[in-house]
């Protein structure tokens, strides 16, 4: 029994380290890319945005995954406990993406000149909306917001919509953003559809 608990602890420790490495990987790759001779700061814009979006989609996929797994799996329970932190890391990458954009633009008037471009205002709005659930991702905010906490977290749905439009416009195509969001959407769809089939079976 003691051995089993010990094994569980070491399993979790390894998983925690693996998750931290995985979440830090995009930053590592960006820093590696910065070593290239012809690298310019703007080259870090696509990977930082992609990391923010992918990690956000991953955090959002945990909910439906847990519903499908029924909460029995220890791995899924472990993921559920880390969902909040994963979401905050996604916001950190989004903030880094904005920081890189601001430094790369270098002048307020240049930013103002393009703020009306659909590829830009969608990004600003997505980040502004994402900041609310990120700021509310702690126990104190949860206690303070009470019934409003969940609606604030659900602002990630409009954030996803804005992110997809922002990504498609700036990377010139829908294929890339849709391929990245598809697994999360498939899990949501499966989590919605499965109870309907289960109900039909019990109706008979």
């Amino acid at each position: 029994m003691v051995n089993g608990v010990g094994q569980m602890r070491s399993w979790r420790r390894i998983a925690n380290v693996a998750l931290a490495v995985l979440l830090a990987l995009p930053l590592g790759l960006m820093l590696q890319g910065a070593q290239q001779e012809d690298w310019v700061l703007a080259d870090a814009l696509p990977p930082s945005g992609e990391a923010a979006a992918l990690i956000m989609f991953a955090a959002m996929a945990i909910g439906p995954l847990a519903r499908l797994a029924g909460g029995r799996s220890e791995a899924v329970r472990w993921l559920m406990r880390r969902r909040r932190n994963i979401g905050v890391v996604a916001f950190a990458y989004a903030a880094l993406h904005l920081g890189i954009y601001i430094v790369d633009m270098g002048a307020f008037d240049l930013m103002l000149a393009e703020i009306g471009a659909p590829g830009i205002w969608t990004g600003w709005l997505a980040l502004a909306l994402m900041a609310l659930p990120a700021a509310a991702s702690n126990d104190r905010a949860m206690r303070f917001l009470r019934g409003w906490w969940k609606p604030v977290q659900r602002l990630v749905y409009p954030v996803v919509a804005l992110t997809l439009v922002h990504w498609a416009i700036l990377m010139y195509g829908w294929r890339e953003p849709l391929v990245h969001v598809a697994p999360m959407l498939a899990l949501y769809a499966a989590a919605v559809i499965r109870p309907l089939f289960a109900r039909k079976r019990t109706d008979r």
Binding site: A113, G119, Y157, P158, A168, I169
Partner: protein, 105 residues
């Protein structure tokens, strides 16, 4: 805000984004210069010198398919991505965050 309301907001924002984006250049990958064999291309440095003389500030330039792609600031002060013909050094396409600012006829 219920889940359905946040989903409606998501759909509305996506619709607004798509409506605004309808005039943007999602076909950036289709830009072609029909420049012919590379041995006839003028050098990237020649293009950079021409652009600098015209008042451009260049951030980065490299060949992209059969065009030269240049990131920089236009003489008018817009931060853009632009495509140039490698033989004639004519401007083919200028994009600002997906919006077409100039397209060669």
């Amino acid at each position: 805000m219920k889940a359905s309301l946040s989903l409606r907001l998501a759909a509305a924002l996506m619709g607004a984004g798509l409506a605004c984006a309808s005039g943007t250049a999602l076909a950036h990958g289709n830009v072609t210069c029909n420049a012919g064999p590379k041995e006839n291309w003028k050098s990237l440095d020649t293009l950079k010198a021409k652009m600098t003389a015209e008042g451009w500030k260049i951030t980065k330039a490299h060949p992209n398919k059969d065009c030269y792609e240049v990131y920089g600031i236009t003489p008018e002060g817009d931060k853009v991505e632009s495509f140039w013909h490698p033989v004639t050094l004519e401007k083919r396409l200028v994009l600002r965050r997906g919006q077409v600012l100039y397209k060669a006829p």
